[in-house]
């Protein structure tokens, strides 16, 4: 049965704009709706979309939404899903940016803003840690050496991040480590 575009957009609208916690929360809600509750996708289709989203540049959850919706309604479905997931939450992000920015005039508000920004620093360190964690479980000389070299080069010699990422990809392709499945 062909999935109705409006119903499809409604599911993505709810998943993308009523969940806090980023991609994991959205993925969990979509799995329940698309695979288990509505049966619009099989588990295999869902798994393939998740794998491909991980190797697509950019925000993985948007690629995941585009992919699952494309499986159901091709190009039109992909556009509808990405719009539904991202437009309302982007509007909320702009409103929050305006609110945080306007706080800069008050000394007390500056302290509150400083505390919130400190939480963001912790968030970014956590993001780096969570990216690294799977590699640390299966340590190899290559990964450890590569990471140290990258941190050193980026910190002290100001090599462009793009160059470092490209270099790492080439090393990884030419020298797949034993932990690679």
């Amino acid at each position: 049965m062909k999935t109705k575009l409006l119903a499809l957009a409604g599911v993505f609208l709810r998943a993308g704009n009523l969940t806090f916690g980023g991609g994991d929360a959205i993925t969990a809600l979509l799995q329940r709706e698309l695979v288990h509750r509505r049966e619009w996708l099989t588990r295999d289709q869902y798994g393939l979309a998740q794998s491909l989203a991980r190797v697509t540049p950019g925000t993985a959850i948007l690629a995941f939404c585009a992919s699952t919706a494309w499986m159901m309604r091709r190009g039109l479905g992909a556009v509808a899903a990405v719009l539904a997931v991202s437009v309302p939450s982007a509007a909320v992000a702009v409103l929050l940016t305006m609110a945080f920015n306007s706080m800069s005039d008050s000394p007390r508000a500056l302290i509150v803003l400083g505390a919130v920004l400190a939480a963001s620093i912790g968030l970014m360190w956590a993001a780096a840690w969570l990216l690294l964690q799977p590699e640390i479980r299966r340590p190899t000389v290559l990964r450890a050496a590569m990471l140290l070299a990258i941190v050193f080069i980026a910190r002290w010699w100001s090599v462009s991040p793009i160059g470092i990422l490209a270099g790492a990809a080439i090393i990884g392709a030419l020298w797949p480590c034993e932990g690679t499945e």
């Binding site: 697509t56 540049p57 925000t59 190009g75 992000a93 400190a118 968030l123």
Partner: protein, 174 residues
């Protein structure tokens, strides 16, 4: 012209990274260090705004666009955020079957390690300007622990940090 440059720089950051926040190093290099469209504090504020509301982690790119060029900039930020997502369609058709090849997986995993290293270095630089008080250092450390080792929603951590900041401001005013 500035809008076109802004879009291309935002797209460059989103299209060359894997994962919502991993585009921060490229974005900082272009918008803060080279073009000076943005300060470190504004970049940090954009990340906060992007993570406080609902939706994808990459939303901070929309906030960055807004801080650089107002609402047109926010629209371009949104466009730069969603554009790479559509790359998955040709990927699903042609490349999906090759994603498990050792060399492809090796390249992806090495890029991910590099992204983590770059993100750590960039965050250290942002921290130099943001963590100016022992309370802020404590909040950053607690926030790192909560985000790394628990499933707590980011909204609660940010609201708790705001409450601690508010109490601190009230105490210092007395």
């Amino acid at each position: 012209m500035k809008l076109l440059v802004l879009y291309l720089l935002l797209l460059k950051a989103t299209a060359t990274s894997f994962g919502g926040l991993s585009s921060i190093p490229v974005l900082r290099e272009d918008l803060v260090v080279r073009q000076r469209f943005l300060t470190d504090r504004e970049l940090n504020l954009a990340v906060t705004a992007g993570r406080t509301g609902p939706g994808p982690n990459g939303l901070y790119v929309v906030s960055v666009g807004y801080l650089v060029a107002g609402l047109p900039g926010a629209c371009l930020g949104w466009l730069a955020m969603v554009t790479p997502a559509f790359l998955i369609i040709p990927l699903a058709r042609f490349v999906g079957a090759r994603a498990n090849l050792p060399r492809i997986r090796g390249a992806i995993r090495a890029s991910t390690v590099a992204s983590a290293g770059l993100l750590a270095v960039t965050t250290l630089r942002l921290a130099q300007g943001a963590l100016t008080d022992s309370i802020f250092v404590g909040i950053a450390a607690a926030s790192f622990a909560l985000f790394s080792f628990t499933k707590i929603d980011s909204l609660w951590v940010i609201l708790a940090s705001a409450l601690i900041g508010f109490l601190s401001a009230m105490i210092s005013a007395c």
